[in-house]
Every structure is written in C-alpha cells, then in structure tokens.
Symmetry: C2
Subunit: 318 residues, 2 copies
C-alpha cells in the first residue's frame, strides 16, 4: 500500500473506532514527545474524548510547553482500544510494561528506525525520514489538516531534537524545507531553544561538573574515560551530556562513561567519533548499539571494568 492509501485507511479506522490511543515509548525523547503531542492534539480536536494520549514512562518536565502535555496519562488496564498509534518505536518492546495496550487493537506504527520490522497493521515506516515528527508532518499534510502554531511547535521540537538541531546527517533538504515552513507559522523559536537546549537541571549540572573532573586519558588522549561511583549519590541524573562532552574533545576517538548504578553493577556508555565501531566493543560485553554510540552493563567493580575496557579498546584504536 502506498502512503496515500495508508493515510486513507488510517482515517477510516479512526472514524470507525470508539476508543483510540496514541502512545509514547519508555524514556521518551523530543522526537517521540513532539510526535505524540502534535498528532495527539490534532486527534483530540477532531475526536475529543475518544482519544487518550498515553505515556509509557515519565515525561521530562522540560517538555511541559508542548500542547496537551498535562493530558498524557498512563494506560489503564480496563481500557480497550480499537486503534493504537505507536510512535517512534523500533519494536513493541519500547512500550515497556504497557505493551498490552496493543492487544486487540488496530496497531498504527509510525517510525523512522531502520530496524523497524513494520509490526503494525498500518505502517508508516520511513527510515530515510529525519524523525518520526517529519512523518507525522507528512501524514497531517496528506490528511489536509491545517497545521497551526501549537501543532507546528510540537513537530518542530520532534525534528530539531532528533537531528541534533539539523547537525546530524539524517537531516535532508526536505527536513530544512519543513522546518522553514513550521517557523513561518509563527512558532516561538527563542522559547523552544531555551526550553529544549538551555535548561540543564541544577542537579544534573552539578553532577556533570563533579563527574567530569574525574576524566582520564589513555593512548595519546585518543581514549577518554569518565568514572562515576554509586557513592556520590547522584543516581537518577541525566548523564547524557558527559560522554558526549568527552567525545567532543579534539584528540578523542573513543569516549567511555563508566557508572556504578548499583553496588558492583556497572553501566558503560561508549561513543566514537570517526572510525572505531563501538557497537562491536559493546557486543564483546553482551551489549549493543550503533557504530558511534553503544553500551553494556557488567557486574563487577568500576576498576575491573575500566581495566577490561582499556585493554579491549586498544585493539580498535590501531
């Protein structure tokens, strides 16, 4: 079925349904949430209480300026949905403990991950799209739905966050064209930038500063390692920026963040810049990921894990 036929089928299924769910994944990011609230808001306007905007996990409060943020609820065991729209999920497991909402429903799968096996009954899976938000934009256009400032803001957040603000090479000419059109609808770019990119939580910042000072370098500064032991008590922090900061140092090819998440349970995040395939390194330790971003978990002490990694990475640095 082509895109247009798929959109028509979706409309028919939505019109016929008594109860519709649209759901985010665990650890939702900007693309997931921008897609959820753009399409969710459109459907809420059209179908009212027939629509539940569902969350599989907590939603970071920095996204609280997105339309209908407060309306997102956790799925209820007693509610059966005729249609469930799943956004930005490579597979159903990304719904975590709420995978059951798909039972008995027509599943609409909107995603851009290359690994997506088209698990839905209706699939909008386009791995050449920059983001799920870009696909949502095209669906709304095909449905002839007017995109206003509120919807445009959500879609913009989706596209901007998943392209690293247009810096990653999933960005295409079309991505920029869509972003330009969204800007022209009067979205408040200053506010979006402030909310999404300039709002580091105080505790996260303090954790970032305290942790990063432990940075160590190996192999002529090509490997950077940052360790964080459980004892410092910052366990629920957003640690995302730390390994990226280490990677962005010009001498560094591989950056590694080693974090004790429980006593002797160590989570390792790996990033590379140009040539080392960190997914292969992660696989050695029963982890996985992508060529430039991967990870694994080991039960051991920080020092032992660090020694193993230093030895392993040497083989790849050449």
């Amino acid at each position: 079925m082509n895109f247009k036929e798929n959109v028509n089928l979706l409309k028919i299924k939505l019109d016929k349904a008594s109860k519709i769910g649209i759901i985010s994944h665990i650890k939702p990011d900007g693309d997931n949430l921008g897609s959820l609230f753009s399409l969710g808001t459109v459907l809420k306007r059209q179908y009212g209480d027939k629509i539940d905007i569902l969350k599989s996990d907590n939603i970071p409060d920095k996204y609280n300026f997105l339309s209908n943020y407060n309306k997102a609820i956790e799925p209820n065991k007693d509610t059966n949905y005729d249609v469930v729209i799943v956004l930005d999920c490579g597979d159903e497991k990304r719904l975590g403990k709420y995978e059951h909402v798909l039972n008995g429903a027509v599943v609409v799968n909107i995603d851009h991950h290359i690994s997506n096996k088209s698990f839905g009954d209706i699939n909008f899976v386009y791995s050449d799209a920059s983001s799920t938000g870009e696909i949502v934009y095209k669906i709304l256009k095909q449905m002839n739905i007017k995109i206003d400032q509120e919807i445009a803001t959500c879609i913009y957040v989706a596209i901007s966050t998943d392209t690293g603000s247009f810096k990653y090479d999933n960005t295409t000419k079309e991505t920029h064209e869509i972003a330009g059109k969204l800007l022209d609808l009067g979205i408040d770019l200053n506010n979006i930038t402030k909310r999404v990119y300039q709002s580091i939580k105080l505790n996260d910042a303090l954790y970032f500063i305290r942790t990063l000072k432990n940075i160590e370098f190996f192999y002529d500064y090509r490997l950077a390692i940052v360790c964080s032991s459980n004892v410092n008590g910052y366990n629920n922090q957003d640690t995302e920026g730390i390994v990226e900061y280490a990677r962005d140092i010009d001498t560094v090819e591989v950056a590694c963040f080693i974090k004790e998440i429980e006593e002797n349970k160590i989570k390792v995040s790996l990033r590379s810049k140009s040539y080392v395939d960190v997914a292969k390194i992660a696989e050695k330790f029963d982890g996985g990921g992508h060529v430039r971003a991967a990870g694994f978990t080991l039960c051991n002490t920080i020092d032992c894990v660090k020694d193993k990694i230093i030895l392993e990475i040497e083989k790849y640095l050449g």
Copy 2:
C-alpha cells in the same frame, strides 16, 4: 540602489580592478570565515592572482577544511587595492590594525549587523539576514555563479555557526531553504559537524572542567558566578563555553564569568536568559554589549570584583 543594481555595479568594479582584496575581521568566527572563503574562492577562480584573501587576525585551525584556508594572508603595507570587500564587520574598526587596506579602494561592505552604518561605497547590509553567509549566497545567485560543494560548504558553515545551528531566532524560513539547497549540493554534513561543533581543544576542555568546578550560586541559584584566577596559567584558552554553560542551568537567570587576565586586571563576561538586561549592568562598569550578552574589564582583585557584581545584580533580579 537596489540589490540587483548593486550586484551589477560590484561586477563592473571587480572586472575593472587590477588588485582586489577580500578581508576577515579580528577574532573571526564561522560566519566571517565561511563568507570569506566562499566568496574568496569564487573570486580566485574567476580573477586568479588579482585576488588576495586577507586576514586581520589568526584563523582558528578548526576551520582548516574550508576552501583556500591556506591562501589567506595578512595584508602587506605595499599593496594597494582597487576594491576591498569587507565581510561581517559592523564598522571598519573590526579590521583592527589593518583598517588601512581600505584607503583609496572601492569599499564593498557585506554585513548583517543592525549597527552597520553602510560605511562602504557599495553596501550589502541586510540586518534581517541570518548571517553574512546568507547575503553572500544571494549575491552569488544574482551573479549566476554555480555554487558547487566547496563553496556550499563554506556558506553552510557561515549560516550554521551564526544561527547556533538554526536555534537562534535570526533563523528564517529562507535560512532553512538555503541550508536545504546547500545540503543537496552534497556537502559533508557529518564532517562539518565534527569539525565545527565536536572539536574542543584538549587544553580548552581541561580548562573548562577545572574552572567550572568553582561555580557558585547566589539569590536562590538565579545568579551563577565562575571565577578563574590568573595563577592557573590557562590564559589563551577559548573560554566561550563556560559562561554559556552556567547560563543554561535551568534556575539561572544571570551567569557571570570573572577571569583574571593579568594580575589584578579582571575581565567579566555576563549572560542572561530571560529578563535581565546585562548590557545595563556592564555599562555601570564602563563596559557594553547586548541585552543577553555583555562584558567589561576592571582593575581590581577577583574578590572585590565579585562582591561588586553580586551587589549590582541583585537590583536586577527583582
């Protein structure tokens, strides 16, 4: 004179000239350099040795992937130019000690700063353009010059850096449209991102990490102050990221970086997020700047300067 007439006049002047200079400003940024090397490369191809690509200051080596980077020379006192193209300069003072190159030349002033008083003989001053690079793009289009990958890369760097990768609100629909077209010319976005955004110098990173751990907060975490004394010996570092990191903490309205640049000579950088006009604060201390970014220099001790600032800023935090 309208844009088209201006471009025609520029062509006539360039064709007639025996010697042409195109010049960057002091402390050149990505917009300045992307503009210099895009237009400079086009003119070199067309006019060969008639063209000198001139630099008023050192060019950061992270831009060494831009076309003709190695050809940029400092102006020579004995060379007289018939035409000099000045890029991204609010006024002639931005040429520093090389302002004299303008003497006797037809001055072509290409800029987007609102403060630009059209000091040139031919002026392309458009304050609604995101960047000087965007104006250069339009001039090349009007001249019917084919933009290839090499030129597109330079223009993309200009636009991307001056818009904070499309995050600042100088970004328009047209900015995105141009960026999309440049991408479509086959520029290597991955490489640009790595070179421009992911290449922190090792010493700058170490300085950032060591300095930021001195962060202090005042007035319910709304004011953040980071001090750096001369004694730690990192004096020629790029300190740009420090005050921005402090500002980006969600509780912070004003961030202040106090740096001892010589014994008892203190440079202060101020940033604000939403409502405090830091230019006013800087003016109190005989400095200046913009509403959200300003600075000044005082001869005093770090501690005295810090105390003065804390007292002054209280008035503005409300």
